[in-house]
Subunit: 580 residues, 2 copies
């Protein structure tokens, strides 16, 4: 079993050079990152494998999390980690999202099952801040911001997954509140023993609601009702009827929730009637970025485990090796795998941090034009960061198994768990196919390619600085491919939307690769600048440039080759459906 | 849970048009395939999920396979399936390997854990036919050929995995036999309850053996000794001390075997002293091809399950769809995924059957030149078929999960099992990195690129027939990339072997893609020929061509982009080892 040591050097580098968090005091960054690194490495990481083995247990309606989770969660709350990015008006510390992102990366690297719980709470907080009544905010937000209570998002029903418009849960008016009745599935941390209360946010239909996605409202439904003095009151009419037996993230309970078995769970409308889906969009960007971050986080953990193994496992003799008895790190193909893991972790981290920083800038910049441009950039890149970083995480987990050889297939080694845990990130918060659909229809077509063109322009500013560098030509070719495929997809979508959507996933992948390559090149330029300025971390800075070279050779070089797949929708759509 | 229906049409097509099994009577092929399809679909496939859930249990040294396995195995033996490719001199039916390959594909698609057992027995049979004494053949072969007893291959030890030269198990002479002492790990079906006896083939060192790989001998060590009358005698001094808890293939026991706890297991030398590793090479080609076949088989099973789900799961409304309430098959991205699954299954099947047919030709052709050329081709492509088809199987299993969305992550659906089962094929029988090393050092460098040049020549014969076809240009570009990278790697290896090996896995992948694309193009040409000849299976034949187009757009187009990674070994080898 391999531990976890937060990659603080690269995190700081990405914050400074990729996310450009100039406004944050270095002392503050250090204090936050160091504290989180300690909790992640010492407390959360050691519970990762045992949590996977034990899983969660449902007994008499109560979900028991694995041994140590309750204590770890209490420590996490006591350390103030729930509140770091929270609104200061409600007890939060108001740090920028990008710094919270670096912190969240550590939770997810250490223990992705654990990390999911705060993620859901954060979504509930965002929704209540944006749409909650003054009373709802007063009663629920302070406890949610600190993590003393957790939040749970209740969207999916058996017949309503990617298509939430098909949902059937009902809300009947009953005095000042509503009575909620229905069944929800795939509710992460819908029930657990970490906190005394759970605040459910539930999508449901009012009696007079129009059909489809325009008739969905959002309700706040606490597990325990709150008395006037703030103490916990009666148990609400909702319960966990089963938990799923999943491929991975075993330590996080995925609940089937039943509302209203005894007449209807008491809930309150959040925001306007029939505007529940729109409200959900409020938290969607952050939630999607959190899932991409899980991919980057697992890539980092997989890299660390592969490296630890390759440094100690002795096997065979590499060509040119001084002697037998050297670790497999010396084998050329093992080195290639380790460098692929390193490059994948760094590139996905850079992309997620960058998108998070754009989100901060969109909220915080004093200049309206900068805010608008940053918002377009974040909106464009968030589906890419979600889907592509999730793929990087899955590939990394698989490569880590490969570095371990036969031992990687044995569960006790812990490598297999990362693969099982990583797989879900391609699915939840909107499957990668849904992200690609969003990228093409809402982010590319809706603004007629403006945001994509702005991105290409910014990328070309970087290539202009790469004259004479080996990174220049592959990046320029990748940018050209992105520009051409964006233009061609826009054109194709106007004529035949289905045909364009058949190329949407390869298009998203291309965007991820080129943006990742661009950010790696920016990192290389920054590293060279630091070296010129006499920075004494020579080997780490040179490694940044070399990792960027590897990324260019192994990922970016393949970018132009995506075009036939992106524009090959006709082959897909003309294929005989009866045979498919 | 989804069943399995053998893809008999495409299997027959691949046998006729890709493997060119002209010499086999169609009636015979039909009878064999139809019989196997029935057993695979009706008996083995239904045990796949239950076998995964139950797994194997070790109690008092006895391994209990999951419910139904014993009966299924007995049915398999009674049906004569063990013997179909066996040597007629020892009770086999002597059918060509390529036909046995199609049959084995069905076992592996239906139930890969079950399929492993005959695979190992076949390896033992090959070894005994090639190296066994007359007495060993007489006593053991008839029972192994039919499958009444199984064979197990005992190679790996904790310190000796990819590097078998490091193994320590000892064999002390003791009269006409030897006493074997040592521990072996990762022994597939090393112990089980399917048959009354298990014939272990064990690598061990004689007392005077030279160190390293030149001091390894091969021994036959039966679980039960055989009496003079052929009945089972005393229990030998070997036992299963534990079984592994693995990511997948739960129904196949992976055993830690201990030899000689009570003084030494009785064994007999097979072949010459210190020539055990060379003997192992006898069965290596077939065993490696079997692992590639597992990849193709899981790709087929994943395709079928994804298709079944996409045809029935109703969700959302596709652009241009007539109405709500249509299955997700109508969504463009789901169609893309299904076509990717179909193309992957067909291409990997074509490659494995082709390599198997080359093996048959190398043994059976009346012409010595043809035999030699076919042997070079098989030797070249077997590491590619093993590694690339294994990757295709893993990707397909992952894509099947993606088609299922959230349901794919729930174990009861069965999709997750295919991913868990598929992962091992990249590791055992030599990791994919070992295959790539073999491809570069033994198959490319050793004959100075002759076999690779012959392959390129044959491929160009096909492109000459593709004038005017959309398949021509991407195939030609892929072939050029293969030719250039082969030449460049040869050159690089002469100067810097480690640097060349750092590009070996991307080179193997390129070879797989281009060879797969070539065989798909040959299939398309054959389909068009059949159509011109008035074949009335129009829709199936047109689908062959369209699937080849998809393969060209999604795989083959990326072939030339592999060059920077193949030739980028310097970036890998110059990276600071202390940081990696």
């Amino acid at each position: 079993m391999s531990g976890y040591t937060a990659p603080l050097w690269d995190m700081r580098f990405a914050l400074a050079e990729i996310a450009e968090t100039d406004e944050l005091a270095p002392d503050l960054i250090d204090a936050v990152l160091d504290g989180a690194a300690q909790l992640a490495g010492d407390v959360l990481a050691p519970l990762n494998h045992s949590g996977d083995v034990e899983g969660c247990v449902l007994e008499n309606g109560v979900v028991r999390t694995p041994r140590g989770f309750k204590e770890a969660y209490a420590q996490w709350v006591a350390g103030g980690w729930g509140a770091i990015a929270g609104d200061p008006d409600h007890g939060g510390q108001g740090l920028p999202h990008v710094l919270a992102t670096a912190v969240s990366e550590m939770w997810a690297s250490a223990n992705v099952s654990f990390a999911l719980c705060p993620t859901l709470t954060m979504s509930a907080v965002e929704l209540l801040i944006a749409y909650g009544s003054a009373e709802q905010k007063r009663v629920y937000l302070p406890k949610l911001v600190t993590g003393e209570w957790t939040g749970a998002m209740n969207l999916t029903e058996p017949q309503a997954g990617s298509d939430l418009g098909a949902l059937k849960t009902r809300a009947m008016p009953d005095g000042d509140h509503f009575r909620i009745t229905g069944q929800k599935i795939f509710i992460t941390y819908g029930e657990h023993d970490l906190t005394p209360n759970i605040v459910h946010l539930v999508l449901a239909r009012l009696p007079d609601a129009p059909p489809g996605s325009r008739g969905i409202s959002l309700f706040l439904v606490p597990k325990f009702l709150i008395n006037a003095d703030g103490s916990l009151g009666a148990r609400n009419d909702l319960r966990c009827v089963s938990i799923e037996h999943k491929l991975g993230i075993h330590a996080s309970p995925t609940c089937v929730m039943s509302y209203g078995d005894a007449g209807g769970a008491i809930g309150w409308l959040v925001g306007e009637p029939n505007r529940g889906l729109q409200a959900m969009f409020t938290m969607m960007n952050r939630a999607r970025l959190d899932v991409g971050l899980q991919g980057a986080a697992i890539a980092e953990r997989a890299y660390q485990q592969a490296r630890d193994y390759a440094r100690t496992r002795v096997q065979g003799k590499a060509p040119g090796a001084a002697s037998e008895g050297e670790p497999i790190l010396h084998h050329a193909d093992v080195r290639r795998m380790l460098l692929a893991l390193r490059a994948g972790a760094e590139a996905s981290r850079a992309l997620v941090y960058y998108a998070a920083a754009m989100g901060d800038r969109a909220r915080l910049s004093p200049d309206a034009g900068t805010r608008a441009r940053a918002e377009r950039r974040a909106d464009l890149l968030i589906p890419v960061a979600k889907a592509w970083a999730a793929e990087i995480g899955l590939d990394a987990a698989s490569t880590n198994i490969q570095v371990h050889g036969g031992m990687g297939f044995i569960e006790e080694t812990g490598a297999a768990q990362h693969l099982r845990d990583a797989r879900i990130a391609l699915i939840y918060e909107g499957t990668n196919g849904i992200q690609a659909n969003d990228l093409v229809t809402r982010k590319l077509v809706r603004d007629d390619g403006e945001a994509a063109r702005e991105l290409v322009d910014d990328m070309r500013t970087t290539t202009a600085l790469l004259a004479g560098s080996r990174l220049g030509p592959p990046l320029a070719a990748g940018i050209d491919a992105l520009e051409r495929s964006s233009a061609a997809l826009l054109d194709l979508y106007a004529r035949d939307p289905a045909c364009a959507l058949a190329g949407s996933v390869p298009y998203l992948r291309l965007t991820g690769i080129v943006t990742g390559g661009w950010l790696m090149a920016r990192g290389a330029l920054a590293a060279e600048r630091r070296l010129e300025n006499g920075d004494d971390e020579r080997s780490l800075l040179e490694a940044k440039t070399r990792t960027a070279h590897f990324f260019a050779e192994h990922w970016l070089a393949a970018a132009p080759a995506h075009l036939p797949a992106i524009l090959g929708g006709k082959t897909v759509m003309e294929f005989d459906l009866g045979l498919l």
